[in-house]
């Protein structure tokens, strides 16, 4: 078997042991369960009070479905734009060190994306989780994916070392800014930066991001005991794949329009009345409410 670099990266990045801190996040599942929504179905709407009727596994699948779609609609455009932005550097590196102006331009665009995501994330619990996982990904690049200096490993060639130096500088700078609270450092932006720096293709970066989000929901469900470890594998094989496929199909083309300047919406010359008709959006308002109520839970095993 001959694995391409892209395929091998997929193996590494999908490792559940990666120190990304996602294990402390349930993305609202814990709150969803505690508030009595697990297994709820419209079939009970004729009864006086809505009572959960579906099995815990079915209820978990419905949660994952609703949660994954709203996540894809809000976060994936930021993954895409961050990846595309950083890939501009990679294209340039093929012909030597990128000009300073380009590095600055890329960094500015990333900060704009981060700022817009912060503005659009109006749920403090999810915001907290996203920031914690974002900075962990940047650390992962500098500590976990740079080439180690080993006797057994010859020095890297000039082109590879230019790439590594460029991305390391960019990522270290982002980390400094995050530490100084200059920028929040949200997960989708940091994921786009990391995967573009590693040279993973945009399509694979998008797919993997949704897959990891879905799998972290599955892991949370196992910890919450709403599904068992064997059922989780069944879901990953038979349910998560079609979910990721269709979520990706619906959202992979969406861009953030972060760099589009503020326009007067009454402008006569506008070509379409709603410039952001296809921009990032929340598709599950109930999930927003339940997610933000996480901190109100009497006892909790997750941070979000």
């Amino acid at each position: 078997m001959d694995l391409s670099q892209d395929e091998y990266l997929l193996l590494l990045l999908s490792d559940g042991n990666l120190p990304t801190g996602s294990f402390v996040s349930s993305s609202g599942l814990e709150s969803f369960v505690k508030h009595g929504f697990l297994g709820l179905d419209t079939a009970t709407k004729d009864t006086e009070t809505p009572i959960p009727r579906l099995s815990k596994t079915d209820g978990t699948v419905n949660f994952i479905r609703d949660s994954l779609f709203t996540y894809a609609h809000t976060a994936l455009p930021f993954v895409s734009d961050a990846h595309i932005t950083v890939s501009r550097l990679r294209d340039e590196i093929a012909s030597g060190p990128p000009p300073v102006e380009l590095v600055e331009e890329v960094e500015k665009a990333l900060l704009e994306l981060d700022e817009l995501y912060e503005c659009m994330m109006l749920n403090h619990v999810a915001r907290r989780a996203s920031q914690a996982q974002g900075v962990a990904l940047l650390t992962l690049y500098s500590k976990g994916f740079t080439k180690p200096s080993l006797v057994a490993l010859p020095a890297i060639d000039t082109k590879d070392s230019t790439a590594q130096d460029t991305f390391l500088t960019l990522i270290d700078d982002m980390k400094l800014r995050i530490r100084a609270s200059d920028t929040p450092g949200h997960l989708p932006i940091c994921w786009g930066i990391l995967t573009a720096a590693l040279g993973l293709s945009l399509e694979r970066s998008q797919y993997l991001h949704l897959f990891l989000q879905a799998r972290s929901l599955i892991s949370a469900a196992i910890r919450m005991n709403t599904i068992g470890p064997y059922a989780s594998q069944q879901l990953l094989l038979h349910v998560i794949k079609p979910l990721c496929d269709s979520a990706l199909k619906q959202t992979s083309h969406i861009r953030t329009q972060a760099s589009a300047k503020s326009k007067n919406i009454n402008d006569e010359e506008r070509s379409t009345p709603y410039e952001d008709d296809d921009g990032p959006a929340t598709t599950w308002p109930l999930g927003e409410i339940l997610g933000a109520r996480h901190d109100l839970l009497h006892s909790r095993i997750f941070n979000s």
Binding site: V125, N266, R293
Partner: protein
């Protein structure tokens, strides 16, 4: 295919304060938009505008553009008369039912609030009827010492006809800019694009939002409404959620956002529950906009 007649209603209202009085420097509107400003008995420089559409509803292809400018130290309360109903086609119309899928109904609102100005958007809810497509886009620009309160809410449809989230598409954008910097942007998209994803079973909008038939978002900016925010935070501080056997009839959350703003989200099985909740929670507004105007907002 015959193209539906597109109606583009535009409106503009410019309000200025003169001491304890206010006056509209400009107030204009075109069909199907209508603006009405009844006299108020307030002793403050504050005015009301009712933004209405003729016939009480909007149909596929209708576009409404409203621009509002609130001057320094002036206050404006924008209300609607009854809920905003969004039809797929104009009722009792002789027009052939050849509307294309792109016959979207849109409403755009652009509000500028000057320093020390205040703006309150407290409309009735939006109801999208079966098969309707609606896009609402609102942008608010203000200053650190302005007050901005925006309510945006939607119900599931004509309950009397058994409609439960059976419109085609609803998209609502609320964007807040404080002193030239974007501090919050909320985009809600409700459609049934996820309902059928073979090989998985259907998951219609109604199931995703069950058991609720009304969702509201409330944005609060400015020191005049800080007491409301504090009181809501106190309410939540007393909540300790144990395992519940079934969902509450009304559920809400509060998060702070940029520019010292606050966003409150609510869901309820009936719109009336949210109305009562708002009436209580926003009670302190009586001191800001006066009791008469407050009563008009929450009939």
């Amino acid at each position: 295919m015959e193209k539906a007649q597109r109606v583009h209603g535009k409106g503009k209202a410019v309000l200025r304060a003169y001491g304890t009085e206010v006056a509209f420097e400009e107030m204009s509107y075109t069909y199907p938009l209508k603006l009405l400003s009844p006299k108020t008995s307030a002793s403050k420089p504050i005015a009301i505008v009712y933004a209405m559409s003729y016939g009480g509803g909007l149909v596929g292809g209708d576009h409404i553009d409203l621009e509002i400018d609130v001057g320094a130290a002036a206050g404006l309360v924008v209300l609607t008369q009854g809920s905003t109903k969004v039809f797929k086609t104009r009722p009792h119309s002789y027009r052939p039912s050849s509307l294309s899928a792109s016959d979207l109904t849109t409403q755009a609102l652009h509000v500028n609030v000057a320093s020390r100005g205040s703006f309150f958007l407290l409309p009735e809810f939006v109801t999208c009827f079966k098969d309707a497509q609606y896009n609402q886009s609102q942008k608010f620009q203000f200053h650190e010492d302005s007050t901005v309160v925006v309510l945006d809410w939607i119900t599931s449809g004509r309950l009397s006809l058994g409609e439960q989230w059976s419109f085609t598409r609803y998209r609502s954008t609320n964007e807040f800019w404080m002193s030239g910097k974007r501090v919050a942007k909320d985009v809600l998209l409700l459609d049934d694009s996820q309902s059928n994803l073979p090989p998985l079973g259907p998951r219609p909008l109604e199931s995703r939002l069950y058991p609720y038939s009304c969702f509201a978002t409330l944005f609060l900016f400015g020191s005049d409404v800080q007491n409301i925010v504090n009181s809501l935070n106190n309410d939540l501080a007393n909540v300790s959620q144990f395992q519940s056997p079934s969902p509450m009839d009304l559920i809400w959350s509060l998060s702070s956002c940029g520019g010292h703003g606050t966003v409150v989200r609510l869901a309820a099985t009936e719109a009336q529950m949210i109305r009562l909740w708002l009436r209580t929670a926003l009670g302190p507004l009586k001191d800001v906009i006066g009791i008469d105007i407050f009563e008009k907002a929450f009939i």
